[in-house]
Symmetry: C2
Amino acid sequence: MESMMIYMPIALAALGLIYMLVKKSWVMKQDAGDGKMKEISDHIYEGALAFLNAEYRLLAIFVVIVAVALTAVSFIVPTTHWLIVIAFVFGAVFSAFAGNIGMKIATKTNVRTTQAARTSLPNALKISFGGGTVMGLGVAGLAVLGLTVFFIIFFHVFMDGVWTTTMDMTIVLETLAGFSLGAESIALFARVGGGIYTKAADVGADLVGKVEAGIPEDDPRNPATIADNVGDNVGDVAGMGADLFGSYVATVLAAMVLGNYVIKDMGGAISDGFGGIGPILLPMAIAGAGIIISVIGTMLVKIKNNDAKEAQVMGALNVGNWTSIALVALSCFGLCIYMLPETMQMNFFGEGLQEISSMRVFYATLVGLFVGAVISSVTEYYTGLGKKPILNIVQQSSTGAGTNIIAGLATGMISTFPSVLLFAGAIWASYAFAGFYGVALAASAMMATTAMQLAIDAFGPISDNAGGIAEMSEQEPIVRERTDILDSVGNTTAATGKGFAIASAALTSLALFAAYVTFTGIDGINIFKAPVLAMLFVGGMVPVVFSALAMNAVGKAAMEMVEEVRRQFRDIPGIMEGTGKPEYDKCVAISTQASLKEMMLPGLLTIGFPLVIAFVPMLFGMSHVAIAEMLGGYMAGVTVSGVLWAIFQNNAGGAWDNAKKSFEAGVEINGEMTYKGSDAHKAAVTGDTVGDPFKDTSGPSMNILIKLTCLIGLVIAPILGGHTSDEGLANIDDEVSIEMTVKSKDMAKATVNYTSIKDGKKVSEVVVFEGTETEVKEELEAFESTVKNETGDIEKVIKNVDITKE
Amino acid sequence: MESMMIYMPIALAALGLIYMLVKKSWVMKQDAGDGKMKEISDHIYEGALAFLNAEYRLLAIFVVIVAVALTAVSFIVPTTHWLIVIAFVFGAVFSAFAGNIGMKIATKTNVRTTQAARTSLPNALKISFGGGTVMGLGVAGLAVLGLTVFFIIFFHVFMDGVWTTTMDMTIVLETLAGFSLGAESIALFARVGGGIYTKAADVGADLVGKVEAGIPEDDPRNPATIADNVGDNVGDVAGMGADLFGSYVATVLAAMVLGNYVIKDMGGAISDGFGGIGPILLPMAIAGAGIIISVIGTMLVKIKNNDAKEAQVMGALNVGNWTSIALVALSCFGLCIYMLPETMQMNFFGEGLQEISSMRVFYATLVGLFVGAVISSVTEYYTGLGKKPILNIVQQSSTGAGTNIIAGLATGMISTFPSVLLFAGAIWASYAFAGFYGVALAASAMMATTAMQLAIDAFGPISDNAGGIAEMSEQEPIVRERTDILDSVGNTTAATGKGFAIASAALTSLALFAAYVTFTGIDGINIFKAPVLAMLFVGGMVPVVFSALAMNAVGKAAMEMVEEVRRQFRDIPGIMEGTGKPEYDKCVAISTQASLKEMMLPGLLTIGFPLVIAFVPMLFGMSHVAIAEMLGGYMAGVTVSGVLWAIFQNNAGGAWDNAKKSFEAGVEINGEMTYKGSDAHKAAVTGDTVGDPFKDTSGPSMNILIKLTCLIGLVIAPILGGHTSDEGLANIDDEVSIEMTVKSKDMAKATVNYTSIKDGKKVSEVVVFEGTETEVKEELEAFESTVKNETGDIEKVIKNVDITKE
């Protein structure tokens, strides 16, 4: 039984995927409404497909380029195996496929939700949340399935399916990192490109439609309205899905890497019922359990009362969410006790080996679940309707757009305080419980509810779309009222979902960062070294510049859209009277092309900087260890600054949005009730314009930036880890040990164990020097200088000289 | 001669101060104009004094509290001497006095500039720049004088005026850090409080005066107009002066600390003509030379043509500035060659000792001068009239305030790219040339032109005030035209001056950071340790929250001002007709009180966080070394994030400001000339409202935040440096060395050199253990555990066990 645990996640993921297919066919069987509704829905569906297809074409080129580069690397660097290319391609394909499932179901569910809303609210929720569930399980199921299958394959390829050494397992996991890199690359396109798409379409539709032509939101006469509705799906469904797919895979991978190092700290091998790899399997097992738990959680989301309001709908979602979290906690308890040795040795930096019980690992997972739950509350406080920060922004709107914007910026900035303290506390606590393995498992536990989180998240844009379809197909008001209830709840879950996504990106990056350090075998990252400090600065700057580029990209893409809509209003006769048909597809094409074009520069920045830092100094002969430390400094800078800017931008954007929305129901400013159309409301609309790219483009992109940066670091790590560029010595810390025995002045003996690379394989070798102490020392020195010549790094070897006197 | 070099900076500083007095009396002798002008000028002068007095009262309380705390610390911590309290108080007094000189001369020069502008532009420049020169030399002269005098005093108190050991010099410099802390504390009040003051008065005056009452800027009927003009002096003169005073002192101090460690790396003593402390004296000598060079530079600033335009005035300033920079470069060359050993050994982290020639130190100073010059150009590019970023913001104003603001934010954000690369390159290069000593000397060289920079900087607000007085006293248009030329140049120099201030703060903080690490004696700051990484996050967050608090403070203080102005318009009869007299002093009082009250929370954040990080874990028994590393992580986080937010906020604010100003001369948008009063201009005004607190309050405050954080760290450093809280062992790295000699199996000998504290003094002691190898090892272990019990830190000692076999 226990030895079969390695297949457990596959089975659970498969179960989740089967449930997803059942749910999908159930959703598809629902009534898709009458002609007009169907027609609009088809436009959105086709627009979404058009974006996906354009994206896939670009992706295919990107994947081919990276695959070729990786192949070249795998031929040059002996420790990088060509299988990483296969893993990379599959990671990209799986992620794209998951996005495809999500987009398709979302654009099919929207119209069915509208149709259901004609008869009953509970049914509308059931269908829209059903669509979300399909999306969530698709993402989580494929992530776990892909990762587990590839792990098993590589485990068999490199180790014949049985534990040998930490070093061999490192190669397995290094190769598996390709899968994660593939997944995160797709996320770059989906999240950044999608973010630009959705806001370009939104702004373009509003500027010409609402402002210039004076027609309402979602009016079918507006040529950009379909692009706008497609954008909701592209940004909020596909973007979020790819983001969390990437986080999920990367987190589990990082936890496995650190699990491998737990085994190393315990002497290089443990005996347990799981083939000696319990600590490595645990994160996958938790992920697998999370899928089934999410299925249970989604089943609990339902309401009965047709007259239910937002609170009941939110309550239903909360029941599902909290149950999932509680069940994940329970399963973590069980799995930690079951799969881990009762006590483990873990190497704490600067403190040496410590005894860690499996219970402490469980406590670390609780830290992760706590963060996931609390960050949502923090986000909701700073962006929620009726909360103090929003009321303050509303008040400040009365003195104009300037004060509204200052208040919004300040709200976003202050919201970093509790968020960062929460993250810092989580790092500290989970590390104190179980080292970096604890940090990674905290992230894994948090991510275990991904399917549930995504279901809650995706249901929002589906309901938003359903409302749009109701408007465009001119349904009775009650239909729009019902979809508005769902949409309003969806807005809240969108904000909290963003909080979850940041938290997941932050913890994932930390786990990847830890995995990076262990992969490279460096002693840590010392920012008292000037080059490392310089890179910390550079890393800190990148998220800021990235955000600016993303914001500017929205502006440029929106301008193209504005031109096109203006042209159509001008050139198509009868368009305003509803007799001429707008060319929706042209607007969709513009948004698609512009978004993909504009994401190139920020994408290049993300991928280019770590490569430049790693490889340019190499050309100047800098030692690999020094480069590894610099790259680590860069990664830390990107992570710290990226998390800050993500929180700042998301929350400021969310706050402006809800400050604007507050005016719909009316707000009291200086004792007077103020409504839509007032000057204060106009100021709030200006604030929301600024907030839109913040919360939907640049803010969420930060997640991808920090994760992708750390992943690229992780993939480069083996190259920097002191491996030679040809056959020769491997000077990885734990692989070279020199023992010197001095029996008397004339009889000394030194034993050197080291690993070298022959025919691309690691071979352990032993050299013994004997003679007088002086002779042995001289021979040792000569040996060391050989190592230095071959690896460019002598310190590593010198450090391990261990002189024993008998 | 050479042995007198220690007194050279005092002599040069005194010379500078004498020249300042001469210049001051010359300015004061100029015609102060007629009755109305004088009256207005007196109002501004009194308002400025009112602020200063209120500030001093608060400061006195603050200084007393900190002094008491420091005294307590000096009694508890044996290595902290009570003289630090004296140094602290004098640092505060000197900085406050320098600010006083600057404010007084600025508020006396303004009216004289107006009067001179009635006859000639060259004269107006001569007087306004003369006022700036007084300010600049006052600040720089007092900084160098104070620092040098206290250094000499402490050098005699602790070392009897002759070199003994690095350790003793460390105590001298630790005590001297009190002077720097005092100076920077004043800067906190002056910069943050001043920043809130100036914008509260500005916004308050504009909102009610311009918007509600419809009267022009600087109209004498507006009760807040005097407060507004006082604000220019409080923020731009006193704030900037205190900021650079603090940077100047801190930079030189940090360079001295690192000079001390150069001597240590060279074996603990060098023989040169400067009493063996050449590397320590060098930064002071450069600072002293800089004063005389600045005097020469200011003499070169003059124009002859009465019809000169902005370009000629700017040209005259540039001649002075570039000459100063060139002369500083020359003097650095001379002084490096003259004062430093031809080659030095410096310990490069992880690379061991390296031979560094004095020429390489000179190259490092060139790096600093380069940064100072280039950062100004970068700043000017992103904020200058007619430059591409500004034209872009102007274009974006045509589609409303929202797009204007997005463009401004994006400009500020993108401007971090070249700035950070410049800083990162400077860190790297100056470190590569001469280690952290090189980094600190780069900063010192850049700061050597402080007096000149301040003269250029202070001349702006003086001219601005002169224009205001011309307006309020209803002079002929030609007067305002002339002052406007000066004011316009002043706006450019204000932006570039901010760039210089950030660069100085960034380099100063780096130098302090390096000094901190050497003071604490830790191995570096390893962000791979989770608590250190957590603190890096927390540190990164603090500037963001600080900025938000500062921005909110402006809003609150401005609201109080608005209420008061509204009240006066309502209650004072005939105020709008010019028959009733506004109560200027009430507005001044409100701005004063509000600004000082509102700066408390951000101030508390700045001072409180490092103290909490240092002392709370101490209560839980965490090892001092671990705490020192955590605090270092926090400092790095604050510095990296603070520099980013300073650049972002200053440049965004400057860009919005000049985008708005572009409309005054008219701009072409989509082929049409657009002027003041257009919708696009209104959008630009909104942008400027957001930018005002960015560029004048929260942005410049970042400088103080990062420097004060690093200074507090430096002052805490000796406590964390592993000193005991009572008599006992001192386990500072270089003070404990253990040598073990194994002659044969039965005859081993271990010699332990260590330093202990007896009666508050350091005493070197030696213990020898002899016997069989096992016995010696056991005795050593016992000894180590004693050390551990007394210092809580065993690693330091263990590391130095050095076994020699004979």
